[in-house]
């Protein structure tokens, strides 16, 4: 492989890292203008409820530019102490973008595409948890925001490598949707990153959406091994990642 192809690969990897940013810290319940349309998610089958949900989500997406549907894997909810104030958090640990498409012009038949290969860590959540504890001082970093400490960064790197590896395995969809997979990831982060260890608490029970208010008021940040769908902001560079992925397969043949 030549330098150009290596560089393209590097760009592709970086595109994936920077695709998700900026608006995934408090994804539920959303706002009146931008409702997140929370839904407990069961990937095993598509129920009528889910069809209705997808229809409403698709209407939302068409009405508001820049919105997209996501599958959230793992849920952190509660409060975490930032550098200067408490931040409310209701965020997935892993994000998978999904696409809804009408099969017909009337828009009655909907098809769901889940972009498993675009799965990514929720960097906003990681930043919020490590902020203050595992970041470099703003003034010392010449104002570059959200600089992760080396410990946090290498843990993130390990998780990313794990995510990459999973696609080498047969039946990767089952692997990702297996509850043990996300549990492994959060365990890794709690083991390697002090801020995760000190701020995140595994909730004893399961998540009930009716209790959202109670969780939010909690002074702790609670972890639920939970899967849910929600509407969020469309990640900008995801298309760059996908395009670069395609380019990476072309370039070695060209160069």
């Amino acid at each position: 492989m030549g330098a150009v192809a290596a560089y393209m690969e590097y760009l592709r990897e970086m595109a994936r890292k920077i695709a998700y940013r900026g608006s995934f810290l408090k994804v539920i319940p959303g706002t009146a203008r931008m409702p997140s349309r929370y839904l407990d998610w069961d990937v095993s089958h598509i129920s009528d409820d889910m069809r209705r949900y997808l229809l409403a989500a698709e209407q939302d997406r068409q009405a508001k530019d820049g919105r997209a549907l996501f599958l959230g894997i793992g849920l952190c909810i509660g409060q975490t102490q930032g550098k200067s104030r408490n931040m409310k958090v209701a965020a997935p640990l892993l994000l998978v973008p999904m696409n809804i498409e009408s099969e017909d012009d009337a828009g009655k038949e909907l098809v769901l595409d889940i972009h498993w290969k675009s799965i990514a860590l929720n960097y906003d959540l990681i930043t919020a948890i490590v902020e203050g504890a595992d970041t470099v001082d703003e003034e010392d970093s010449m104002g570059q925001p959200n600089m992760l400490s080396p410990a946090a960064a290498s843990a993130v790197n390990a998780v990313e490598l794990r995510l990459d590896q999973v696609f080498q395995e047969p039946g990767y969809v089952q692997r990702i949707t297996d509850r043990r997979f996300v549990e492994e990831i959060v365990d890794l982060l709690m083991a390697e990153v002090p801020a995760f260890r000190s701020k995140l608490f595994k909730a004893p029970g399961t998540y009930h959406k009716e209790d959202l208010g109670r969780y939010e008021r909690s002074d702790k940040l609670l972890w639920f091994n939970h899967r849910f769908a929600f509407m969020g902001n469309n990640p900008g560079e995801l298309s760059a990642y996908e395009a670069l992925n395609e380019l990476c397969s072309i370039i070695p043949n060209e160069v």
Binding site: K83, N157, G236, S239, A240, A243
Partner: protein, 864 residues
């Protein structure tokens, strides 16, 4: 991979010299012709940027704050249409695209381009538009095309005729201006000669009644005088002079006396020194007279004609471009109906599994011929455009300093040449809200990818060469000196956003090395209006964060005061700037250098100020990073610096951050500071430029002196000093202007001279009406005001006038030669000149919008 992208990557990664395409003279000429056909006034730098874009594979348009990047991009895209090339404009911000889109809409009408977005209604509109085109390509196509072709041809012919007339008029104006300049120089020479002669001999020898009846001076007199001088020398040396020579010399003297009314020769026939000086004066007079006779046109009439023709050409150009676009779409659409239908379907589908196979069936070369102009956010391109190499002739990336490298590569891949637009002197990726990836982590990724690669670059070197994603934008990647690419660059230099003193600070502090900015807001409507206030509030950093409570309090107090009208009272600075309570409130922004202080400000603003009120002033609170790309009428700068802290100079004085922070205000800046450390050199320099010297919070350990900028104060000021008049003509003009002012029945007219404005050397005079803030510049035609840069007088003059006009100046030109004919016509109460003077006064009245002018005979100002 497109050839250009391959070269770019190879060049940057290998460090080997890369030969980019430079197009030949023919293409340059084509671009020149295209530039003439577009209906937009462009500065020299803007034109240069567009020429670079079309003549090189890669080019860079540097756009300092407020210098018309979008205007330039719009013009570039219009030239694409004329050149029948395709162009794709991308940015990571929809807002940036929308600005260009609006401008293109104004020029080309509603459906001028394909917009690649995610918005459903936009996609529907595009679908409809394509559907309409498909319909137009069907029944009745031939007639429609034929009609369009006729309309296009007519529009083009009409436009070209007007442009030819403009060119002709400009040429004759140019020639006349050259003559005017030559006449001025000859006239000055004549006056100098005359003064020297008068000093040594008799002024009466050169009286105007004598000179004015002189015939044209034939060249043989030089030989005659040489001979006379020889004879005189021989006489002086006591040599024998042949009788024939003596006779001839005497005859020469008689002839000279008769020809030039030089009666003094009778008394002093052999004074060669006087004769030489006399003849030199005669020659200078004759040269000036000859130059004047060469000016066959009325300059101001030609100027007005050119102006009228330019207005006409702009309208004709719009018509031409619209018909051209419609013809291109119809003609090419008919030939590619199938592709159009598939493209239409693409705007209906979103599912990648359906979109991709359909894209493969579309011939994009045909599609870009039908729709040569495309705009879109980078992230949405993949929904309509396949990853195909070189679909477009050109890709333009706006706000390139905030675009990360991976994001733009797919857009570049789709084009043959690239133009990056941005400014490396403003904030880069940090302003794009990029998740900052830890360098350790990025290094791991780098090493993973480059492990085992032949000629691999290590991460440290990659950082240094601006190849790594977390530090470098596409702009850094392309224009960093370490890449060695030598990309053609044009720096836009006309600033239109901020009040003059604010813009001058930006220019002096950050763009001096680039030649500085022409501050186009240096116009009379901004005269004497304050635009900056320094407020020292004292206080210390809080214990629980990087904020200074007193700065936060003061900033919010200012916002409340604006909202309640306190800052907008009669005589207040903001009132003078045109804001009024409660209906014309300014938009307001607060910048905080620290995130903690930004958070404090936000939380308090949300709790203490009603949401409707915040919306009423479009209140935006952010760090400089968040403010890049935004501007407000009034900016409140806060720094989060208290008296009890170390001063992180690297943070506060990072030039790109300081540049962005200080250049966001259109009208007024409040700088609110807790304490000014002695080591805060840039801060002190900043305040010093506006005339403030902050009290230093600590004794200076740093012995570095603050090197001051040229102090400009907080307002635009002009002065009047009659001693600065540079010529007799200027002094005469001054008298006339004083006379004009005297004729007014009030004292609202003010006169200024030697006025520096818009980056120009000086305006001779400016007449300003205090009541209306209208003004008019009075420019003497003839003398050079220009820097020696190799341009002719006429081209420099015309460029200067177009710069001033773009800034909105009214100009009255006073042709020197009309005022001087064998002496100042004004002095002689010449009846013809009275008409010229009345016309001059009439022009002043028109531009100033005066109604109280009293006509009458001129006052004798006793100029003798």
């Amino acid at each position: 991979m497109s050839d250009t992208l391959r070269k770019l990557f190879n060049g940057v990664l290998t460090g080997q010299p890369v030969q980019f395409r430079i197009l030949d003279q023919g293409v340059q000429e084509e671009v020149g012709r295209a530039l003439r056909l577009i209906p937009m006034p462009l500065s020299r730098k803007q034109e240069e940027a567009i020429r670079n874009a079309w003549s090189s594979d890669l080019s860079y348009i540097q756009g300092p704050p407020g210098t018309g990047k979008s205007h330039t991009i719009t013009a570039l895209m219009l030239t694409a249409l004329v050149l029948e090339k395709s162009v794709l404009l991308v940015s990571h911000k929809k807002a940036a695209i929308d600005v260009v889109r609006r401008k293109l809409h104004e020029m080309l009408g509603e459906e001028f381009a394909i917009y690649v977005g995610n918005d459903a209604s936009e996609r529907d509109r595009t679908k409809r538009r394509i559907g309409e085109l498909i319909e137009q390509c069907g029944h009745g196509f031939k007639e429609r095309l034929s009609t369009l072709k006729t309309q296009e041809e007519r529009a083009k012919v009409a436009l070209l005729n007007t442009l030819t007339r403009i060119q002709k008029e400009e040429r004759s104006l140019g020639l006349a201006l050259e003559r005017t300049n030559a006449n001025y120089r000859a006239q000055e020479d004549h006056l100098r000669n005359r003064a020297a002669y008068a000093r040594d001999f008799q002024e009466a020898d050169l009286a105007m009644d004598i000179l004015s009846v002189l015939p044209v001076v034939p060249p043989h007199w030089s030989n005659t005088l040489e001979r006379l001088e020889e004879v005189q020398n021989q006489r002086f040396m006591g040599e024998d002079i042949p009788r024939k020579d003596l006779l001839r010399a005497r005859l020469g003297l008689v002839g000279y006396r008769r020809t030039f009314n030089a009666d003094w020769i009778a008394e002093e026939p052999w004074n060669a020194h006087r004769l030489r000086a006399h003849y030199a004066s005669i020659q200078a007079y004759d040269a000036a007279r000859k130059e004047r006779k060469q000016i066959h046109i009325k300059l101001n009439v030609v100027r007005r004609t050119i102006h009228d023709l330019q207005v006409q050409a702009e309208e004709q150009s719009r018509t031409y471009l619209r018909t051209l676009l419609r013809r291109i779409q119809l003609e090419n659409g008919h030939a590619a109906g199938g592709d159009l239908k598939k493209l239409q379907s693409l705007f209906r589908l979103r599912r990648p599994s359906l979109v991709k196979p359909l894209m493969e069936q579309v011939n994009y070369a045909s599609i870009t011929r039908i729709f040569p102009i495309w705009l879109g956010e980078m992230r949405n391109l993949g929904g309509v455009l396949p990853l195909q190499s070189g679909i477009f002739d050109m890709a333009v990336v706006d706000e390139a300093s905030q675009v990360n490298i991976p994001e733009v590569v797919p857009a570049f891949y789709r084009a043959k040449s690239f133009v990056v637009v941005g400014d490396q002197k403003q904030l880069g990726l940090e302003a794009a809200g990029l998740f900052a990836i830890n360098r350790t982590y990025e290094e791991l990724t780098w090493n993973n990818c480059f492990g085992g690669v032949r000629g691999a670059i290590n991460y440290a070197e990659a950082k240094q060469r601006r190849l790594n994603v977390s530090d470098s934008s596409i702009l850094d990647f392309m224009v960093s000196p370490t890449t060695g690419l030598h990309i053609p660059q044009a720096t836009l230099d006309e600033h239109y956003r901020s009040m003059p003193s604010l813009a001058n600070y930006t220019s002096q502090q950050f763009y001096e090395d680039d030649g500085g900015l022409k501050v186009m807001t240096e116009v009379s409507t901004n005269l004497g209006k304050d635009s900056f206030r320094y407020i020292e509030v004292g206080g210390e950093r809080a214990e629980d964060g990087k904020y200074v409570q007193k700065e936060v309090d003061k900033a919010l107090e200012l916002v409340r005061s604006i909202l309640s009208g306190g800052e907008l009272g009669n005589g207040s600075h903001l009132r003078k700037l045109g804001f009024e309570f409660p209906n014309r409130l300014p938009s307001v922004g607060i910048i905080s250098f620290t995130t903690d202080q930004r958070n404090q400000l936000k939380v308090r603003a949300e709790t203490e100020i009603d949401a409707a009120q915040r919306d009423g002033v479009d209140l935006f609170i952010g760090t400089p990073e968040e403010f890049q790309g935004n501007e407000r009428d009034v900016m409140i700068l806060t720094f989060g610096i208290g008296s009890n802290q170390r001063y992180a100079r690297g943070f506060y004085e990072k030039p790109t951050r300081f540049n962005v922070a200080t250049s966001r205000a259109r009208k007024y800046t409040y700088a609110v500071l807790g304490a000014c450390p002695s080591s805060a050199l840039l801060l002190r320099r900043y305040f010093g430029a506006f005339g403030y010297s902050p009290k230093l919070s600590e004794p200076s350990e740093d012995t570095t002196e603050v090197s001051p900028l040229e102090r400009m104060g907080s307002r635009l000021t002009w002065t009047f000093n009659p001693d600065l008049c540079e010529s007799e003509f200027e002094r005469l003009l001054l008298h006339c202007l004083l006379e004009f002012i005297d004729r007014q029945s009030n004292h609202r007219l003010k006169l200024f001279n030697q006025v520096k404005t818009c980056g120009q050397k000086r305006l001779d005079f400016v007449l300003y009406d205090e009541d209306t803030t209208c003004s008019v510049a009075i420019e003497v035609d003839g003398p050079d005001h220009f820097v020696e840069d190799g341009r002719t007088y006429s081209s420099a003059h015309m460029e200067r006038v177009s710069v001033l006009k773009r800034a909105g100046w009214n100009i009255v030109h006073v042709p020197y030669f009309q005022w001087y004919r064998n002496g100042w016509l004004y002095d002689r109460h010449d009846p013809n000149f009275e008409h010229i003077l009345e016309k001059f006064y009439g022009d002043l009245i028109e531009h100033l919008g005066l109604v109280t002018y009293r006509r009458g005979r001129q006052i004798d100002l006793g100029l003798e």
